[in-house]
Subunit: 242 residues, 2 copies
Amino acid sequence: MLPRFLAAIDRASGTARLSGEEARHLSQVLRLRAGDEIAVFDGAGAEFVARVEQIARDGALARLGEARTPAAEPAVLLTLAQAVLKGEKMDDVVRDATMMGVAGVEPLVTEHTAAHLKPGRAPERWRRIAIASAKQCGRAVVPRIGDGTPLADWIVRDRSDVRVLLVEPSATVSGHPASTLGPSRPASATILIGPEGGWSAAEIASAVAAGYIPITLGRRTLRADAIPIVALGVLQYLWGEL
Amino acid sequence: MLPRFLAAIDRASGTARLSGEEARHLSQVLRLRAGDEIAVFDGAGAEFVARVEQIARDGALARLGEARTPAAEPAVLLTLAQAVLKGEKMDDVVRDATMMGVAGVEPLVTEHTAAHLKPGRAPERWRRIAIASAKQCGRAVVPRIGDGTPLADWIVRDRSDVRVLLVEPSATVSGHPASTLGPSRPASATILIGPEGGWSAAEIASAVAAGYIPITLGRRTLRADAIPIVALGVLQYLWGEL
């Protein structure tokens, strides 16, 4: 299996330019040299076989070969709008959601968010995790990691065809089973998932008023960082993507 | 919310006896004393309100009060037969599978199992994790944690009505989508999930020959410890349990 790198791909000149970080992974971790064959992908779905030409401190240059078929992307552009979880849990969510094929992860700041995140200041680490996860799972698409958005702003901005709010069975509105979404695939969908402390009643009311469909994963109590992967799995199964 | 403890429940005498470990959790971690109200469950589905009577080094005694309704159990008795994963990953799988409501976890020893486990020597730690997880998620049932079984022995022993083998898309047999299992609920089901290194061709052949249905989670590459929770979620969704 060829090692895969994120790169700026220039089809006109037939070259791929790797960032300093990707170049270090190539030369220092994987000990690759000029002349070695790699795969490069642009983060937006294109992937090529390539040959390393130059390695420098601030980057590397590779010569494009044949186009390659990366891992298939889901038909539904699915955004996980996830209230920021504490510590490494959010890292795990970004990694797993990338492997599950999401188009984007939007870190949300909500009333009961225990983790500290200033809106607009999502750590660069999450984007690096998404890149590493895409490299590992064969996707040529790197999900967009949002900047960190207050829930109220996100609700206004979200333009997905299907918008879903995951609620606990004990929530102030009763959630429907996921099957009520029906099997017909939307072009795009968002799922909003709350923090460890759950949604406030006002948050649920405002999301529902804005058109989000409250659904539940039933009576299970799951770890906060296990919930998104189960929810994404169920939605993808429902839409025939698993 | 009442703190919950696993206990040997004796309805005849109206008492519940906590083990030394549970008693330490009660007295040293939660700082509870004689006279405090707790909940006790027997690991097999029964749960009561109780009042602490005595606390000693080797256990505690509580007086049973009213019966309580624990978290509802799934209708399908679902066993996760999971090839042992490395390090803490197996711990996470046991914890999450308990929260997902499995009836049992059978640690399997397979050809490509990288983790070291002698058959019959599953660490006591997994049972402790299952207990802690049941306490946390409100189940009064503690899933049975198997001793660690070679795959060939497990296949012979498994008596579930529906038996499923999770395979990768690249496997030597083509897997069906989970929807081929159909929505009608079996009384019991097993899902076999491989180790980080996957199944050998011979293992797949022998499981299929024994009647296991090969299914796939599609083209996703997921972390080995994320796979069981997604697979359990999809099966439970399919059977109307989520």
